[in-house]
C-alpha cells in the first residue's frame, strides 16, 4: 500500500516525540490546561455562587468541591500503584504522571476553596495542611528532578558510585602502608580517619553537606603543611588530602541524592497520613452532622 510507509513514519514520529518529551510538556501541556480550567471553574463558582451564611465546606458548593477534592486525592495517590505497572498509549505512565502533577497543583485551589478559608486546630485543617505538605513537596520534587540530575552527573566526573568507593578503598590501603613509620598519636589520627564509615553523618549532614565530626578532616590537622616533616608524614598528609577530596566528592553526590530524594520521605508518608486524615475528616463531619 502506497500510504503505508507514510503512516509508519508519522506513527514512528509520534512515538519518538512521545519518548523524548518531558512529562511536564506531555501532549502540549494537555493536563496543565485541564488543571487550569478546573481552577478557573472552581474559582468562578466560589465567587458567583452565594453560599449562606458564608462559604465553607458545608454548603452545597462546599460539598461539591470536597467531593472533587477527595476524588482527586485518592486518584493522585494511586500513582504509587500505577507507576509499578508500565504501559503505553492513551494512559501511559507519562500521561498519568503529567496529570498527577497538574491536577495535584489544581488541588491547591479546589482544597482551599473547599475550606472557605476557615482554618483551625482540628482534623479538617490537619487534612488540609497534610494535603498542602504533599503538594508542596511534590512541587519541590518536580523542580529538583528537573534541575539536579545534571549536577549529579557533573559531580561524578565519569566515576560510578562503586568506583568512588573503590577509590576511597585504594587510598585507604595506601594510607595504611604509608602511615607505618608514624608515631602513636599520628597513627591514631589515621586509624580514626580510616575507621570512620564513608557514609558517616545523618540525613541532615547529607542535606547540608556539613560534617563537623569528619575524622579525615580532623586527622589532617595533625599533619600541618610544610613543617619540615619527613617524607612519611608528607605522604600521609597528601594521601589524607586526597581522601578528603574523594570524600567530598562522595558527599556532594550524597547531598544531591539526598536533595533529590528527601521530598519523597515527606510526600509518601504525608500522602498516606492524608488519606487517613481524609477518612477521619469525612467520617467526623457526618458523624457530628
Amino acid at each position: 500500500m502506497a500510504t503505508a510507509p507514510k503512516n509508519r513514519f508519522s506513527q514512528d514520529e509520534r512515538r519518538r516525540n512521545a519518548d523524548h518529551v518531558s512529562f511536564l510538556k506531555h501532549k502540549k501541556f494537555r493536563w496543565l490546561w485541564i488543571a487550569l480550567l478546573l481552577c478557573i471553574v472552581s474559582g468562578l463558582g466560589y465567587v458567583m455562587i452565594d453560599q449562606e451564611p458564608r462559604p465553607n465546606g458545608g454548603t452545597w458548593y462546599g460539598y461539591t468541591l470536597g467531593t472533587i477534592g477527595v476524588g482527586l486525592i485518592v486518584w493522585l495517590s494511586l500513582l504509587g500503584i500505577r507507576k509499578r505497572k508500565m504501559t503505553t498509549g492513551q494512559w501511559s505512565l507519562k500521561a498519568w504522571t503529567s496529570a498527577h502533577v497538574y491536577l495535584g497543583l489544581a488541588l491547591i485551589v479546589v482544597g482551599t476553596l473547599h475550606t472557605g478559608f476557615q482554618i483551625g486546630w482540628n482534623v479538617h485543617t490537619l487534612a488540609y495542611v497534610l494535603m498542602l505538605i504533599v503538594i508542596i513537596t511534590g512541587i519541590y520534587g518536580v523542580i529538583v528532578y528537573a534541575t539536579l540530575p545534571s549536577t549529579l552527573s557533573s559531580n561524578r566526573k565519569e566515576l560510578t558510585r562503586a568506583q568512588m568507593l573503590e577509590a576511597l578503598t585504594a587510598l585507604d590501603r595506601q594510607l595504611e602502608s604509608a602511615a607505618q613509620p608514624l608515631d602513636r598519636d599520628k597513627s591514631d589520627a589515621v586509624i580514626s580517619a580510616l575507621g570512620q564509615n564513608v557514609f558517616y553523618g545523618g540525613a541532615l549532614a547529607r542535606l547540608t553537606g556539613a560534617y563537623p565530626g569528619c575524622a579525615t578532616k580532623r586527622a589532617l590537622k595533625n599533619f600541618p603543611e610544610h613543617d619540615g616533616s619527613d617524607g612519611a608524614e608528607e605522604r600521609v598528609r597528601s594521601l589524607l588530602t586526597k581522601r578528603a577530596d574523594q570524600l567530598a566528592q562522595i558527599r556532594r553526590h550524597l547531598r544531591i541524592r539526598a536533595l533529590l530524594e528527601v521530598w519523597l520521605f515527606i510526600h509518601i508518608p504525608a500522602t498516606i497520613a492524608l488519606l487517613a486524615a481524609l477518612l477521619a475528616h469525612v467520617v467526623s463531619v457526618f458523624y457530628y452532622w
Binding site: 462559604p55 458545608g58 476557615q118 490537619l126 568506583q163 568512588m164 573503590e166 477521619a280 467526623s284 452532622w289
Partner: protein, 595 residues
C-alpha cells in the same frame, strides 16, 4: 630509575609469600603476556596493558598500551602522571599495584591480589537517602495509626459508650466524648460558647444532623415566626443548587431549610448573633401574597420602596372591649373617651402656657415630658396619671378641711360621688370662735348642725358630671342605668403591635416629639397622633439606601424580630465581636443583583 617489584601472594593456609626483584630501567611494562616486566595472569588484563615510564622530575607516567583503561586510585584512566613520592594505586583486573617511593630510593611496586568485594552492592545502598532516614512505610503507617486512633476511633468509641444527659441550660454538663474537640470545624458563637467542650449536647446521635427538638430543649420558649405549614407555604422557592442539596440532605435526615440550623449555622467562630439581612426577609415577604393568599399583611421588601402602611391598634368606638387595627391610609378617629386638645396645651403663649409659667413645677410653657414619662427601657411611655400630669392645673379640690384642702379621688365615679356627698359636711368650724357674746351660736344664730338631706351635695355631683362640670372638662358624660356616668377611657398600652419603635434611639439630638407627633395642630383627642409610614421614610429608607446626613439605611431587623415580631432583634453583649452574617462577598452582591 630503578623499580622494586614486590609480589605478595597468599598460601592456601593464609600465609604471605613475598617475592622481591629489582628492575633497573626507565620503563616497566605490565600485562598478561609473559614477556612483560610484570606479568599478571588474569584474563581481565590485556596482553600488553600498561606501561610505566619515568618522565623526569621524579614523576612517573602510566599509559595504556592497547587503549583499554586501567584503574588509578579508583578512577579509570588511559593515561596519567603520578608522583611516586605521594603514591598511587594501580588496579588491573584483580591485582592492585601500590606504587610508592621513599626519597631517592627505587620506586616500589607492591602487587597484591584482591578478592572480589562481595559487599559492594550493599555498600552502594549507602548512597541512597533511605539509609539515613526511617523507612517511608514505617512513617506512613505510624502517622496513619495515630490519626485513625486518636482522631477517629477514640471520639467515636467514647461517643457510643457515653451515658446521654438531658440538656439543662441552667446547669450545663461536661462533655463525655474524648478528643471530639478535634472535630470542631470552628469556635461556637458567643451564645453557645459554654457548649464548646460538650459537642454531644447538640450532636446527639451519630450521623444524624442537629435536630430542632435538641435546640428546643433549651430554647423552648422561643416563638415561631409562623405555624410550620404556613411557613413552608410562604417560603420562597429554592435555587436549583439549594433544592438539590436539600433533597439530598432531607433524604439523609436533615430537617430542611426551615430547621433551626439552616439559619443558625454554628462553628463560624466566636461571633454574636447578628440581625438578619433585608434580603433574608424579602426572600419570602416580597411576593408573599402569591404563595399565601390569606396573609393579614401586605408584601414588603424594602422599607423605602415596598412596605405596607402602619396599622396601629386603638379603640375606634366608645365602649369597645378590644382595640382594632386600622391602616393609617384610612381616616382614623380614636375614641379614647377623653377630651384633650393637644394644641391648647402645647401652644407657647396661650392660657395653658401662662398657667404653667405661673406654677413652680413647670416654670414655662408645657412640654411633652411634663405629662408623658418615658419608661426606663427607653422604648415606650408610662400611662399618663391624671394626678401627676393634669392636676396641677385641673384641680380636683372641692372642699376645705381646716388648713388642708380636700381633693376628689380620681378614677372611679363612685369615689367621686362619695367624696362630693361629704362636701360641707366635714368637720365644721369651731362652735365658739373668739369672744362671741352669749346667745350667739353659729351663722344665723342657729345651732351649727344641719341634719337635713344633703341637697347641696347632690347638686354638686350632678353639676360635676355635666359636660360643663369638672369631670366634663376631660371626660365625656354619659349615663349608665339612668345614673350619670362617664365614658370609660380606652387607651391601648401599645399602638404598633407588629413592629417596634425605640423612642430612646430617637432622643433629643435626633428629633423633637413634635417632629413626628402633630401635637401642635391637633385640636381633638380623636386625632391619632401615631406617625404614618411616609413620615418615617423622611429619615428611614431600605437597607440598600445610601447613608446621608438625613437618611438612615434601615433593614427590617431595626423594627422587626424573626422569632419575636413585637420585639426587635437586639444584640445584648459583645458589641466588639464580629457578627455571624454580613456576607459581603462578591457572590452575595451578585446574588442580590440577580434577585
Amino acid at each position: 630509575m630503578a623499580f622494586l617489584i614486590r609480589t605478595i601472594d597468599f598460601t592456601a593456609a593464609g600465609r604471605e609469600i613475598v617475592r622481591d626483584r629489582t628492575l633497573d630501567q626507565n620503563e616497566v611494562s605490565i600485562g598478561r603476556a609473559t614477556e612483560n616486566d610484570i606479568h599478571l595472569p588474569d584474563l581481565a588484563v590485556e596482553q600488553r596493558h600498561v606501561r610505566l615510564k619515568d618522565v623526569g622530575g621524579g614523576m612517573l607516567a602510566i599509559e595504556s598500551v592497547g587503549g583499554l583503561g586501567f584503574g588509578i586510585d579508583g578512577r579509570t584512566e588511559t593515561s596519567v602522571e603520578i608522583d611516586p613520592n605521594i603514591g598511587a594505586e594501580l588496579s588491573l583486573g584483580s591485582s592492585r599495584l601500590a606504587i610508592s617511593r621513599d626519597g631517592d630510593e627505587p620506586v616500589q611496586i607492591v602487587i597484591k591480589q584482591v578478592e572480589k568485594d562481595e559487599g559492594a552492592g550493599d555498600a552502594l545502598a549507602g548512597f541512597a537517602l533511605a539509609s539515613a532516614l526511617p523507612s517511608k512505610r514505617i512513617m506512613a503507617w505510624t502517622f496513619t495509626a495515630l490519626i485513625l486512633v486518636l482522631l477517629l476511633s477514640v471520639p467515636i468509641f467514647t461517643h457510643l459508650t457515653r451515658s446521654p444527659v438531658e440538656n439543662d441550660p441552667e446547669n450545663l454538663a461536661q462533655g463525655q466524648v474524648a478528643f471530639d474537640s478535634t472535630w470542631s470545624a470552628g469556635d461556637l458563637s458567643m451564645a453557645h460558647h459554654d457548649l464548646e467542650d460538650n459537642c454531644e449536647a447538640c450532636h446527639a446521635a451519630p450521623f444524624v444532623s442537629v435536630q430542632d427538638e435538641t435546640c428546643l430543649t433549651c430554647h423552648e420558649e422561643l416563638g415561631d415566626h409562623a405555624e410550620m405549614p404556613r411557613l413552608a407555604e410562604g417560603m420562597a422557592p429554592l435555587s436549583t443548587g439549594d433544592s438539590i442539596q436539600w433533597q439530598i440532605a432531607e433524604t439523609l435526615g436533615k430537617e430542611g431549610p426551615l430547621g433551626c440550623v439552616s439559619c443558625h449555622s454554628e462553628h463560624e467562630g466566636q461571633v454574636v448573633l447578628e440581625a438578619a439581612s433585608e434580603q433574608f426577609c424579602s426572600d419570602c415577604h416580597n411576593e408573599l401574597d402569591t404563595r399565601l393568599s390569606n396573609a393579614a399583611f401586605g408584601n414588603a421588601s424594602d422599607f423605602g420602596k415596598k412596605h405596607p402602611q402602619f396599622r396601629p391598634q386603638f379603640y375606634t368606638a366608645h365602649f369597645d372591649e378590644e382595640p382594632t387595627r386600622v391602616s393609617l391610609d384610612q381616616t382614623v378617629n380614636e375614641m379614647s373617651g377623653l377630651i384633650f386638645p393637644h394644641d391648647i396645651h402645647m401652644a407657647e403663649n396661650g392660657g395653658a402656657a401662662r398657667m404653667a409659667m405661673s406654677l413652680g413645677e413647670y416654670g414655662g410653657p408645657l412640654e411633652c415630658s411634663n405629662c408623658h414619662e418615658e419608661e426606663e427601657d427607653g422604648v415606650g411611655f408610662a400611662p399618663v396619671e391624671m394626678e401627676a400630669a393634669c392636676e396641677s392645673c385641673h384641680s380636683l379640690v372641692f372642699d376645705r378641711d381646716g388648713p388642708n384642702f380636700r381633693s376628689l379621688r380620681h378614677g372611679d365615679v363612685d369615689d367621686l360621688m362619695a367624696d362630693l356627698a361629704t362636701m360641707d359636711r366635714g368637720p365644721r368650724t369651731a362652735v365658739v370662735s373668739g369672744r362671741n357674746r352669749p346667745g350667739h351660736f353659729a351663722r344665723g344664730g342657729a345651732y351649727y348642725s344641719n341634719f337635713g338631706r344633703p341637697m347641696s351635695a347632690y347638686i354638686a355631683i350632678n353639676r360635676a358630671l355635666e359636660p360643663t362640670g369638672v369631670c366634663g372638662e376631660c371626660h365625656i358624660p354619659t349615663s349608665t342605668n339612668g345614673r350619670r356616668d362617664l365614658t370609660p377611657v380606652n387607651l391601648p398600652d401599645r399602638f404598633l403591635m407588629g413592629g417596634y419603635f425605640d423612642h430612646a434611639a430617637h432622643g433629643d439630638e435626633v428629633a423633637e416629639c413634635t417632629d413626628c407627633h402633630a401635637t401642635e395642630t391637633s385640636d381633638a383627642a380623636t386625632d391619632l397622633l401615631i406617625p404614618n409610614l411616609e413620615s418615617c421614610r423622611d429619615c428611614h429608607l431600605g437597607e440598600t439606601a445610601a447613608k446621608t446626613e438625613e437618611i438612615t439605611p434601615s433593614s427590617c431587623a431595626m423594627c422587626h424580630g424573626y422569632h419575636t415580631p413585637t420585639m426587635p432583634w437586639r444584640p445584648d453583649d459583645h458589641p466588639d465581636l464580629p457578627g455571624n452574617g454580613g456576607n459581603d462577598s462578591v457572590a452575595a452582591i451578585l446574588s442580590s443583583l440577580r434577585r
